[in-house]
């Protein structure tokens, strides 16, 4: 396989730093313009809390264009090796081994094992410190720790016993110090204190022995004991601080990652309801609490989905005025406790957008650092809501502009297109009524003009009415499954009755399925499309074809006229839009009606230029719903 096509493989676990791994994988894949695969290897059969986190990472990777794989394997290395081989991956990115035991980390790390398995893939280990939670997991002072402590002390006593220079206590002390320090680091303070006591005892015992009793000054046991304790304390303090720092860094990382994910998810929301769902989901995952958004609505509170929290304790309505005038709710720095729930104001730039209500799962409060993050969440949510509100306002303004523009266009069109035929009819009727001599042929001319112009007026009014009703949703689309042939037949009948045979080639395959459509509307659509084709390519051959595509049937009306000028493919469907060079007739409603009809059917219409000249209009009608059963063939019974 070509190197550029060999994918980059990224192995993901649940740790917070997987985000870095994902980003590294994404960058590497982009650098090498190779596809990339994010894989999670499930080694145990039981889903854990982590699996949720893994899903988040996988989704994140997918967003960045990764292919997602979750595989089952006895060990991480096993699964990765297998997949690397199968996909011919060029690079495998791993976090630093998550193996639990230090000796495993030395000899059996996943990377090493993979290398032993003879992979020809480049393996890159992205530096990642061990998850703190995992190191803590074996800090407990269980039986094992006790035994370990005793073993270490015994070993150090043995070492002290072997001190070559007789009676040199200066050498014995560091041995015990080292032992106690190690125990403190390994098993915690409790055992360290125990170790100091024990080592003092051992030490006294050593002093009693003949090896040391002679020549050495009797060191006070107490001093020794104090030294041990101090050492243990110092080590513990140091370790504690280090750990706290590590935990803080870790926590910040998690916070940053979760805020980042929330912000991005919110940025993609299109509605308040969506914000509600996403906010509740993220808060539940990160804080393990239930959450919902509340908005003031006509003197009461309205909850965004998911449904309001179970104890159903909305904030008291007396808080509403504050919210409505945009004042911040209560003390902006302190959550407001109501019943078992807490409320956080969602304060945006200029006003409060609503309230975030939190229900801790066990009914207990939340630690202060959690509140900090929760407040950061609330700000993100408030900004998202504010963005939506502004968008909505902008949209409203746009609609108003559009309506205004439409109104003036409509007035213009009515002014021109309705008045012209009316003027002609009025004039012709006046002439006919004059008591002067009018030749028979002129009389007939005037009369047929009256007829033509009134027909045009009726047509225009009908179109206007249809469009208005379609756009306002006043027309209820009566979809019925039927053969396309029938609608084509009635459309052609209507056109040919009006203007004689059309130069039209119809090609409807026998295998075409029934299509759910409103016959009257689709007939109108076809009549409009054919009339449009005729207008732009008068007297030239037209084609009407249809074919089935997955989930839809496509109808095409094509002509050999001048085609559509570039850039007008969308605009020709606008109301009252006429191509600049279009000649007589047409007020620019026909195609707008077509689009409205197709949209009412849940389909799509597209115009494009045909290869070889001319234009083509394609209408895709969805085959939605359950097609009806064909009639039973057992009609002999009837």
């Amino acid at each position: 396989m070509d190197a550029p096509h060999r994918p980059v493989l990224v192995a993901l676990g649940s740790e917070a730093r997987a985000l870095r791994l994902i980003q590294a994988g994404y960058r590497l894949a982009r650098e090498r313009s190779a596809p990339w695969i994010a894989v999670h290897v499930e080694t145990g059969g039981h889903p854990t809390e982590d699996s949720e986190q893994v899903q988040v990472w996988l989704q994140e990777a997918q967003r960045l264009g990764a292919e997602i794989r979750v595989i089952q394997a006895p060990t991480l290395a096993h699964g990765l090796a297998e997949l690397t081989r199968r996909t011919h991956a060029q690079v495998l990115l791993l976090g630093r081994s998550r193996d639990r035991w230090p000796w495993a980390r030395v000899g059996h790390s996943t990377a090493n094992e993979l290398l032993r398995r003879g992979l020809d893939t480049f393996i890159e280990v992205v530096d990642e410190r061990l998850d703190h939670s995992r190191t803590q997991a074996f800090h407990g002072s269980g039986f094992g720790a006790m035994v370990g402590t005793l073993c270490v002390l015994a070993a150090s006593s043995g070492l002290a016993w072997l001190v070559p220079h007789e009676g040199n206590l200066a050498l014995v002390l560091p041995v015990y110090l080292a032992a106690v320090t190690f125990i403190a680091h390994r098993w915690g303070q409790g055992l360290a204190v125990l170790a100091s006591v024990l080592s003092t005892l051992f030490f006294s015992f050593l002093l009693e022995t003949p090896r040391f009793s002679r020549g050495a000054a009797p060191w006070p046991n107490l001093l020794f004991f104090l030294a041990m304790l101090l050492a243990a304390q110092a080590v513990m303090g140091l370790l504690h601080r280090l750990r706290q720092q590590a935990r803080e860094v870790q926590r910040r990382e998690v916070h940053t990652a979760s805020l980042y994910l929330l912000g991005r998810a919110l940025a993609r929301c299109h509605g308040i309801d969506q914000v509600g769902v996403i906010a509740a989901e993220h808060i539940r995952r990160v804080f393990k609490v239930e959450a919902c958004l509340l908005f003031p609505a006509q003197g009461d509170w309205k909850a965004a989905p998911p449904p309001p929290l179970d104890p159903g304790l909305p904030p008291p309505p007396e808080l509403l005025p504050q919210l409505e005038v945009g004042e911040r709710l209560g003390d902006p720095l302190e959550p407001l406790a109501i019943g078992r729930t807490y409320c956080l104001s969602l304060s945006g730039t200029d006003r409060s957008e609503g309230v975030l209500q939190i229900l801790p799962r066990d009914g207990a409060g939340l630690p202060s650092e959690t509140w900090e993050l929760l407040k950061a969440f609330a700000v993100q949510i408030a900004l998202a809501l504010e963005r939506l509100r502004w968008l909505e306002e902008a949209r409203k303004a746009q609609v108003e502009n559009e309506t205004e523009r439409m109104r003036s266009t409509l007035l213009g069109a009515i002014g021109h297109d309705l008045r012209t035929p009316l003027a002609a009819i009025h004039g012709a009727a006046g002439t006919l009524l004059l008591p002067s001599e009018v030749s028979e042929s002129t009389r007939r001319d005037l009369l047929s003009m009256i007829q033509d112009e009134s027909e045009r007026l009726a047509h225009l009014l009908g179109d206007l009415l249809d469009l208005t009703r379609l756009e306002s949703g006043a027309i209820h689309v009566q979809k019925e499954w039927q053969p396309l042939e029938e609608v084509v037949g009635s459309a052609l009948g209507r056109l040919e009755k009006r203007q004689g045979p059309l130069p039209l080639q119809v090609d409807l395959p026998e295998t075409l399925p029934l299509v759910p459509l409103d016959a009257a509307l689709i007939e109108q659509l076809l009549v409009n499309l054919l009339t449009n084709a005729q207008r732009h390519a008068p007297g030239q051959a037209m084609d009407l074809r249809a074919w089935e595509e997955p989930g839809q049937v496509v109808v095409e009306v094509a002509d050999r006229g001048p085609g559509i000028p570039e850039g007008y493919e969308e605009r020709i469907f606008d109301k009252f839009f006429r191509l600049p060079e279009a000649g007589e007739g047409g007020v620019g409603l026909g195609l707008a009606i077509c689009r409205a009809i197709v949209q009412a059917h849940g389909g799509a219409i597209r115009a494009e230029n045909r290869s070889g000249g001319g234009s083509s209009f394609r209408v895709a009608l969805p085959l939605d719903g359950v097609p009806p059963l064909p009639p039973e063939s057992a009609e002999g019974a009837s």
Partner: protein
Amino acid sequence: MSQPLILIIEDEAPLRRFLIPTLSGHHYQVLSAATAHEGLAMARTHNPDLILLDLGLPDLDGMTVLKELRTWSRKPIVILSARVQERDKVQALDQGADDYLAKPFGAAELLARLRVALRHTLQTDMAEPVISGGGLRIDLERRAITVNGQAVKLTALEYRLLEALVRRQGKVATHGQLLAEVWGPGGAGNTHYLRIYMAMLRKKLETDPTRPKHFITEPNVGYRFNLEAPGEG
């Protein structure tokens, strides 16, 4: 009855002004009413041969007038409907109206519909057992059908559908009416059956099924069977 009497129930004065001279000029006697109540009273006293009924009357719903008329009269009723009354139109046909004319309509179309509607009253049930025109010849008695001289075989259901359409020759038959007649009361709602069988009939009896001359579709309403090519006549 040399000059059939036609009652126009229509509230729009311009339409009455157009209808009355047009019909009188074509050898019909004409009565007109501007409201539903007036129209119903005139129908009772004069018993016209045909009623032109506008569906949008100011004082009473056109559908109510139709039902009321149908309680005692079997004379043809032709509905005048505006564009926005699509559903009412079908309902009116199912309620016993004979045909409809969508506004705006021309004089030729109006006269053609009136002729068809009146012919049906004059020669009530099946008059001619053999009808022919436009290359199609149907012998209902012997169940023999030819297209351009070629014998065509129809299945039993296709034949029943053809029969139902032919009986209403020139008039519109709604989906509901055809379904009830051909498939029985259980057929209601299976409009797609009807459409499939119509497609089969067209395939067998029309020269170009996409440009039907005999089996005309009235979208969302039903079908109309014409022997001759549908024209202004």
